[in-house]
Amino acid sequence: MTNVPTTTKADWSSDQEVRWCPGCGDYSILTAVQLLMPELGVRREDTVFVSGIGCAARFPYYMNTYGVHAIHGRAPALATGLAMARPDLHVWVVGGDGDMLSIGGNHLLHVLRRNVNLNILLFNNQIYGLTKGQYSPTSEIGKVTKSTPDGSIDEPFNPISVALGAEASFVARTHDMDRQHMMEMFRRAHNFPGAAFVEVFQNCNVFNDGAFGAITKKDKRASMLIHLEHGKPVRFGDDNEKGVILNSYGSAEIVDVADVGEDALLVHDENSQEPSLAFALSRLSAGPFEPTPIGVFRSVERSEYAAEASKQLAWAQEQSGPGDLASLLHSRATWEVS
């Protein structure tokens, strides 16, 4: 990080016109990222944004960095190759809930279990924006959309649970109405050496307006957003009157602090090796209509994929010296004809 020139938001903004609908939550996420970048002490040319297809996936065009706008669902896979080939880069992956949990669900799972050094931002608007409003794998049951005129019948994914089930080592959640919180989560993701997964609640004001309003509106936040903070008891409420405990079946439960006493509250441990705690917290809320945790659910370091691969290369070179083509061709039985 030495000698990295000082930059401003403007340096990180590309010259391309931003083409989201006016009022789209994607704007505020973009702003948060562009504001954060100068703080990270990295170079623009060492930063790459990779995306799939969708409204969210237009993101790379607006960053004055390297970028690939790939195909639907495949960004994590493409980014894996890039991160392995170039462990020196900072690679970000951006996509929507359709992109990363519907068509691209499998690549997301595998990138998480492999712990490839990527910062993965899932813009969850619970809808297919770019294709004009079909339901997505995070839409609530009963959702009426163009493709489900009688209401959807699919149980939605809880992206945090999915990630934890797939051995994710860094898992966080934030929302598009809180720039500071977004910046903090993105910074944490950047600093994490491995696959860092961040779900961002994002408002699609055209096809799913207000989906998160019940929890992210300014006046709702205190009572509906449960801030997870490492080492602190999990509390929330307009007067911090609510808290979270773990019951005897390992489930997280919301309680009145007055009822149980402060000491009974769960103290959040994002570094818990075992993901059960994080998982239980992810189940606290079944959707953005009840108190919902945000913040870092889990942050546990383990060996990073690209680094491990590089180590094997280094080891091989140590063992057998740098490859010599002539020796390779002669490495099996040979004979002379004269």
Binding site: S14, Q16, T47, R74, T80, G323, T334, V337
Partner: protein, 625 residues
């Protein structure tokens, strides 16, 4: 038995010999064939092999479905195929005999493991009587050898348990056949030592069985002669023995070295391509990175990501995997990045015949994508030539910044031949120039980087890799403006870009070698056009046809897209053009469409290559028309 004195037996000379080893999947026939081949290669014969095995890991023992076979032709002159009908069949059990006998030349030699011809095995093979006794083999020379019994016996002395000893019977067979055809013994003994050095007893048992087989040949009064196939007059040089998948893997390593660009392989296992992944995962000291991805789509995407990062991205697979990769190949066409898509073709459609060969994915390579998305196609034509084909495919990908298809097939992949190792210095320089500075001056004088500003000669766009200051840029699969690379939906621009993408691939025709043309170029009555692994059979057939006094020529197409520039003229200069293919006539259709020439398709889609005899027959038929 090993210490009796050698009998005097005569030696007869052969110019070539086709041996087929056949047994149960568990009998180690592939290994046996491989060793026979290696010894022959070491001896200096020219040779070519054809392994064939079932799709199951272990098909039910003793059944026809479980038969695994390995055919090798060894010769004192230049040959290009594993031979037509074998001269010798080694059958380790009744099923092997039943399945393989029909292929044997009439009057050929059959060597059986007599011990395996028990009632139960006969029934499993579907024999009602005992073929060794009931006249089934009347037209052949039959040698009945109690291989299991002798092997167990010699192993007993070593303290090997009978069940384990039995496993060495293939080495007995190998020893016997080696003696019979005068193969050198030391290479095999050395190989056994090296291979089983950590399993002393196994090494000893195999060596003992091998020697017992040799001794048996010499001693038993069954054989009055043995035979000799003299070394071939091959061009001088250092040789090794290689199959197509290994040669191809080494070609990729070579390309990476010659380009000074690291190799990245993203792959998902699939028969018969997996061995390339296996081979390259052992080449880490060459800086080769391999990723066994979660599926074929992730495999190619990771390779493309690596290419964006400045590596030579490669993905290897077979037909079904290519189907899955097609969307990403389209993206690579749009991104204009180097990428190799390697298809080791197998029998289709769908899962088809995974362990059998076929070359029916040419049209898929040409057209298996939506929209207009042309991709260059290179095809390998012999096992060792896979090395050069890989280098050539990489050359085109790197120089022209494009995905390139490299087609091989199951026959080339697993087939092997002696290879006169090339001088490294003779390999082409594939050095790549990465973009390092802005390439466009705006009206206001500022310097910027345009990712789609093209090299006037190659029409290739610059390869600017992340980490390079001042060249940050964004690319994607949406239509873009030429030059700036910005998203552009305009009609005229799209028309321009579609044409440009077409032209830039067509243009590569200026930079590939002329059509490989051989035979009676000036005055042939007939031209045979081939591509891929039919090369060997066509060359062999042509030799026979010309020996018979006919005039014919052979054009072999190594670049299927774009086609060589001289091809149209060549096709038009012969009265008859036939195109033998292991598909229903795919190249033939391309030639007809492109050149309006009445080329006729000769098609064989049976999971096995053409034999020279079949092609000879077709050619004579066409000449007679």
């Amino acid at each position: 038995m090993t210490d009796t004195l050698p009998r005097i037996v005569g030696t007869r000379e052969l110019d070539r010999l086709v041996v087929r080893f056949a047994g149960d999947s568990g009998d180690g026939m592939q290994l046996t064939g491989d060793r026979f081949t290696s010894a022959s290669a070491f001896f200096g014969n020219d040779l070519a092999t054809l392994p064939e095995f079932p799709a199951e890991i272990r098909a039910p023992q003793g059944t026809l479905a479980g038969v695994s076979a390995f055919q090798v032709q060894v010769s004192d002159h230049d040959i290009t195929t594993p031979g037509d009908a074998p001269n010798v069949l080694v059958a380790m059990n009744p099923a092997a005999l039943r399945k393989e006998l029909p292929h044997l030349e009439v009057g050929g030699t059959v060597i059986v493991n007599q011990d395996a011809f028990m009632e139960r095995n006969l029934a499993k093979a579907g024999y009602e009587g005992d073929p060794l006794e009931d006249g089934t083999l009347d037209n052949y020379t039959l040698f009945k050898v109690p291989m299991t019994t002798i092997t167990k016996e010699v192993c007993k002395e070593l303290g090997v348990k009978p069940r384990d000893a039995e496993r060495s019977k293939n080495f007995f067979a190998l020893g016997l056949v080696s003696w019979l055809y005068g193969r050198p013994t030391q290479p095999t003994l050395d190989w056994i030592e090296a291979k089983f050095k950590r399993q002393r007893l196994v090494a000893d048992a195999n060596s003992a069985a091998f020697k017992a087989g040799m001794a048996f040949g010499e001693t038993a009064e069954l054989f009055d002669f043995n035979y000799e196939v003299r070394p071939a007059a091959l061009k001088p040089g250092t040789y090794t023995h290689v199959n197509g998948n290994t040669a191809l893997s080494w070609g990729l390593v070579a390309a990476s070295q010659q380009a000074k660009v690291p190799l990245f392989l993203g792959s998902y296992p699939i028969t018969p391509a997996s061995d390339i992944l296996h081979e390259l995962s052992q080449r880490k000291n060459f800086g080769v990175r391999t990723l066994q991805a979660e599926d074929e789509i992730a495999a190619i995407c990771s390779a493309l990501g690596a290419s964006f990062g400045g590596n030579l991205g490669v993905t290897t697979t077979s037909g079904p995997g290519v189907a899955l990769k097609s969307e990403t190949i389209g993206l690579a066409v749009s991104l204009e990045l180097p990428l190799l898509i390697i298809n080791i073709q197998r029998g289709g459609p769908s899962t088809g015949l995974p362990t059998k060969t076929e070359s029916a994915d040419l049209m898929q390579a040409m057209y298996g994508r939506h929209g207009e998305s042309p991709v260059p196609i290179v095809a390998a034509y012999s096992p060792s030539q896979c090395f050069f084909a890989a280098i050539e495919a990489a050359r085109i990908a790197l120089k022209y910044r494009t995905p390139v298809f490299l087609l091989s097939d199951g026959y080339l992949a697993n087939g092997s031949e002696p290879w006169c190792l090339p001088d490294i210095a003779s390999l082409p320089d594939l050095a790549v120039e990465f973009a390092t500075v802005p390439n466009h001056t705006n009206d206001d004088g500022s310097e910027v980087f345009w990712p789609y500003l093209r090299d006037p000669e190659t029409m290739a766009r610059p390869w600017a890799v992340p980490g390079t200051p001042e060249l940050t840029h964004r690319i994607g699969g949406i239509e873009k403006e030429d030059g700036t690379g910005n998203i552009n939906y305009e009609s005229d621009n799209h028309g321009h870009m579609v044409k440009l993408r077409n032209d830039r691939i067509a243009h590569i025709a200026n930079d590939i070698s002329a059509t490989m043309l051989e035979g009676d170029i000036e005055d042939a009555e007939l031209l045979v056009v081939g591509w891929g692994s039919t090369w060997g059979a066509i060359v062999s057939a042509m030799t026979r046809v010309r020996k018979e006094g006919h005039k014919m020529a052979h054009a072999h197409i190594t670049h299927l897209n774009p086609l060589p520039k001289d091809l149209g003229d060549i096709l038009r200069s012969y009265r008859k053009v036939i195109v033998p293919e292991m598909n229903m006539g795919q190249l033939c259709r391309i030639l007809r469409a492109e050149f309006l020439v009445d080329a006729q398709s000769i098609s064989k889609v049976q999971g096995v290559p053409f034999t020279a005899a079949e092609l000879h027959h077709h050619i004579i038929g066409a000449l007679d028309d």
